[in-house]
C-alpha cells in the first residue's frame, strides 16, 4: 500500500503540500515571527524581507504570521463543513437510492429545495441570520454543500443496489443497514473522496468569498478572504497583500485536489494489478 502510494506523484505532491499547510496551521504560534495584531505604521506595505518574510499589510502587520494563523480558520471551516456535509449527504443519498419509492421521492425533493437556491446567496442568508463566526460560516457551508453528496451517492447507489453481490449478501441474511453500509457504501468511496477533496477547495474559496463580502469571520481575525478582499483596495500601488493571500488560497486548494486524485487512485482495490501484492503466482488460471 505504502509502495503504491509513493509511486503516485499527485498523491506525494498533494500529501506533502497538505501536510505542510496543516503543520503550519497547527504550529502557527511557534512559527510566527510577530504577534498577529502587532501594528507598525512605519513599516506599512513592506516588501518581503528578513524581518517580514512575506511583507506587511496596510497596518504594518506581519503577513507571514497572519497567513499561518489564517490557515487555522480556513482549514477548520473547510474540514468541519466538508466532513459534516459529506456524512449527511452520503447517508441521505444511500437511503434514498437504496429504498427508492416514496423515501427516494421525499428525500430528493428536499434536496431539490436546497439546490433551488444559488449556493452563495443561501450561505449569505444563513450567515446573515446566524451572525458571522467560524461555526456559523461552517453551518452555512454544510447547508450549501450536502446536496451534492446526496445526489452523487444516490445515483451510485441506484446502480449498486442491483448488483449481484447485493443479492448475494441478502442471501446470507444481511439486513438493510448491513447492505447499505458494508456492501454499497464502500463501493461509493471513490466519488465521495473526489467530491470531498474538491469540496475542501471550494469550502476555502467560499469562506474567502464570504469574508470578502463581509459575511465571513469578522476582523481582526486574520482570515485569508478578508486579507484578499482588503488588499484589493490597494491593488494599484501595493498588490502584494492580495497576491500573498491569493497564493495561500490557491496552494491549499491545489494541495487538496492533488491529494484527492491520488487517494482515489490508491484506495480503489479494483486498481490493484491482477498480480496483486506479494504476487506469489496469485493468478494461476484454472485453479
Amino acid at each position: 500500500m505504502l509502495k503504491r502510494a509513493l509511486r503516485n506523484p499527485s498523491l506525494v505532491v498533494g500529501g506533502v503540500l497538505t501536510l505542510t499547510i496543516v503543520l503550519a496551521a497547527v504550529f502557527a504560534p511557534l512559527l510566527a515571527t510577530h504577534s498577529v495584531d502587532q501594528m507598525n505604521m512605519r513599516a506599512r506595505f513592506a516588501m518581503p524581507s528578513s524581518a517580514h518574510w512575506l511583507g506587511t499589510d496596510n497596518f504594518g502587520r506581519d503577513l507571514w504570521t497572519r497567513i499561518i494563523f489564517g490557515a487555522r480558520i480556513s482549514l477548520s471551516i473547510a474540514l468541519i463543513s466538508v466532513s459534516a456535509a459529506a456524512a449527511i449527504g452520503s447517508v441521505v443519498g444511500l437511503v434514498a437510492g437504496y429504498f427508492g419509492g416514496w423515501v427516494d421521492l421525499l428525500l430528493m425533493r428536499i434536496t431539490d429545495v436546497f439546490l433551488g437556491f444559488p449556493a452563495l446567496i443561501l450561505a449569505l442568508a444563513i450567515v446573515a441570520v446566524l451572525g458571522p463566526g467560524v461555526l456559523n460560516v461552517s453551518i452555512a457551508l454544510i447547508v450549501v454543500f450536502w446536496t451534492e453528496y446526496a445526489r452523487v451517492v444516490r445515483s451510485a447507489t441506484l446502480v449498486l443496489r442491483e448488483q449481484a453481490y447485493v443479492s448475494a449478501a441478502r442471501a446470507l441474511g444481511a439486513s438493510h443497514g448491513r447492505i447499505i453500509f458494508r456492501e454499497i457504501l464502500p463501493n461509493t468511496v471513490g466519488p465521495i473522496i473526489v467530491l470531498t477533496t474538491l469540496g475542501l477547495g471550494t469550502a476555502i474559496l467560499s469562506e474567502s468569498a464570504l469574508s470578502f463580502l463581509g459575511f465571513g469571520v469578522p476582523p481582526p481575525q486574520p482570515t485569508w478572504g478578508w486579507t484578499l478582499a482588503y488588499g484589493t483596495r490597494f491593488i494599484r500601488g501595493e498588490p502584494w497583500l492580495s497576491i500573498v493571500a491569493g497564493m495561500a488560497i490557491m496552494l491549499t486548494v491545489l494541495a487538496f485536489n492533488l491529494l484527492g486524485d491520488g487517494l482515489r487512485d490508491i484506495l480503489d482495490p479494483r486498481q490493484l494489478s491482477r498480480a496483486g501484492r506479494g504476487s506469489r503466482n496469485s493468478t494461476t488460471h484454472g485453479s
Binding site: A168, G173, A174, S175, P269, R274
Partner: protein, 333 residues
C-alpha cells in the same frame, strides 16, 4: 413440517407454489403449481430452457424474488420454517444459515472492494457469535475446505485478482460458511470452462456429502444433471412437465420435451463411432403473455393430439415414481 422421505429428514419442502409477475402491460404466472421436497444429503435438479421459471423458483426459495414478482399461492418450508410467512428478522436469520445460495456469475456476486477473506468472515460473523480474528481464521479454513490453493495468501486478495474457478470456490466457501441445511445453486458452473466445471461440481458434491447438505441445482445442462442429481424436475413454461429419479429419467424419458432436450444435447456415440444427429427443438418457450391454449409445448411437439391443443395435461403418475404431464403418454395402470 419436517417429514420422513425415502432416505432421511426433509429439510426443504415446496408446495403449490404460484409466482406472478406484474409488468409489461399485464400480469402473468411465471411459476405454476411448483412442488418438491428434498431430504438431507439429497440433490434435486431443476432443468429447463431459459425463461422456463427455474431461476425464479430458486430465488423464491430464499424469498429473494424481485419486487415485481409476488407469490400468489403455496408455501416454502426450510428446516421446518415457512420462509414466505416469516417476519423480516427471522427471514434474515434463516438466510445463510438455513438456506444458502451459489450464484451463476461469481465475479458479480462477490463484492469488488472487499477481500474474499473478509467476505467469508462477514458471513460468519452475521450468524455466529465469533470475534474478528476467529472469523478470519475460520475463513482461511473454509478456503482450504473448498481446495483453494494457498488459502492464507488468497484470503487477502480481491475478487478481480482471482481466476473464474477460484472465484466460484470462494463463492461456495461463503455460501457454506454457516453450514446451511439447504444449498441452492443457480447454474453454478455455466460461467466456467468445461475442465473447471467438473472440478467445481466434484467439489460441491463432495462438500454436500460431508456436510449432509440438501442441494437444489438449477441448470440447463443435462450432463450436469446426470452427474449430480438424485431427483430431476423438468420445467417448461413455468410448470413441471416431468418428475423422476435421475436413472428413470435418462433410461426412459416420458415427456416429448424431455426427449427433445436429450436429442438436443451433444454427446459422443460409443462403439461404432458414428455421431448421432444433433436435433434442435424448433421454436422457443412461449412467453407468459402469449401462452397457447392447451399444452404449452404443443406448438413445438411432434406428437400433438387434438386434445393437446385444447386441454392442458395434468402432471400424473405414469410409472412408479415417475410423473409426467402429457396426453400422449399412457397413465400408470
Amino acid at each position: 413440517m419436517a417429514g420422513e422421505h425415502q432416505n432421511g429428514t426433509l429439510v426443504l419442502e415446496v408446495k403449490d407454489l404460484d409466482v406472478r409477475i406484474e409488468g409489461g402491460g399485464g400480469s402473468f404466472l411465471v411459476v405454476r403449481d411448483m412442488a418438491f421436497a428434498v431430504a438431507r444429503g439429497e440433490t434435486l435438479a431443476i432443468v429447463g430452457e431459459s425463461g422456463c421459471g427455474k431461476s425464479m423458483t430458486a430465488l423464491t426459495l430464499l424469498r429473494l424474488h424481485p419486487p415485481a414478482a409476488t407469490v400468489e399461492r403455496g408455501f416454502v418450508c426450510v428446516d421446518g420454517q415457512d420462509v414466505l410467512a416469516l417476519p423480516r428478522a427471522a427471514l434474515e436469520d434463516i438466510r445463510g444459515e438455513g438456506i444458502g445460495m451459489i450464484f451463476q456469475e461469481p465475479l458479480t456476486a462477490l463484492n469488488p472492494v472487499m477481500t474474499i477473506g473478509d467476505q467469508i468472515a462477514e458471513a460468519l460473523r452475521r450468524h455466529r457469535d465469533i470475534g474478528r480474528r476467529a472469523a478470519a481464521r475460520r475463513a482461511i479454513e473454509l478456503l482450504d475446505l473448498v481446495r483453494m490453493p494457498d488459502p492464507d495468501h488468497r484470503a487477502r486478495l480481491y475478487p478481480h485478482q482471482l481466476s473464474g474457478g477460484m472465484r466460484q470456490r470462494a463463492m461456495i466457501a461463503i455460501a457454506l460458511s454457516c453450514e446451511p441445511a439447504v444449498l441452492v445453486a443457480d447454474e453454478p458452473t455455466t460461467a466456467l470452462d468445461v475442465t473447471i466445471q467438473a472440478q467445481i461440481l466434484g467439489l460441491i458434491r463432495d462438500l454436500q456429502q460431508r456436510l449432509g447438505t440438501a442441494l437444489v441445482l438449477i441448470t440447463h445442462d443435462l450432463g450436469v444433471v446426470a452427474e449430480m442429481a438424485d431427483t430431476v424436475i423438468v420445467m417448461y413454461a413455468g410448470r413441471r412437465v416431468e418428475v423422476a429419479h435421475v436413472n428413470d429419467l435418462f433410461d426412459r424419458p416420458l415427456h416429448p420435451y424431455t426427449r427433445a432436450l436429450m436429442t438436443a444435447a451433444p454427446h459422443l456415440e460409443a462403439a461404432d463411432g458414428a455421431k448421432s444427429m444433433l436435433m434442435e427443438i424448433k421454436g422457443a418457450v412461449p412467453p407468459p403473455w402469449d401462452m397457447p391454449q392447451g399444452c404449452p409445448f404443443a406448438p413445438r411437439c411432434g406428437l400433438t393430439l387434438d386434445r393437446c391443443r385444447v386441454e392442458e395435461p395434468p402432471l400424473v403418475k405414469k410409472r412408479d415414481g415417475h410423473l409426467a404431464a402429457c396426453w400422449e403418454v399412457p397413465d400408470a395402470a
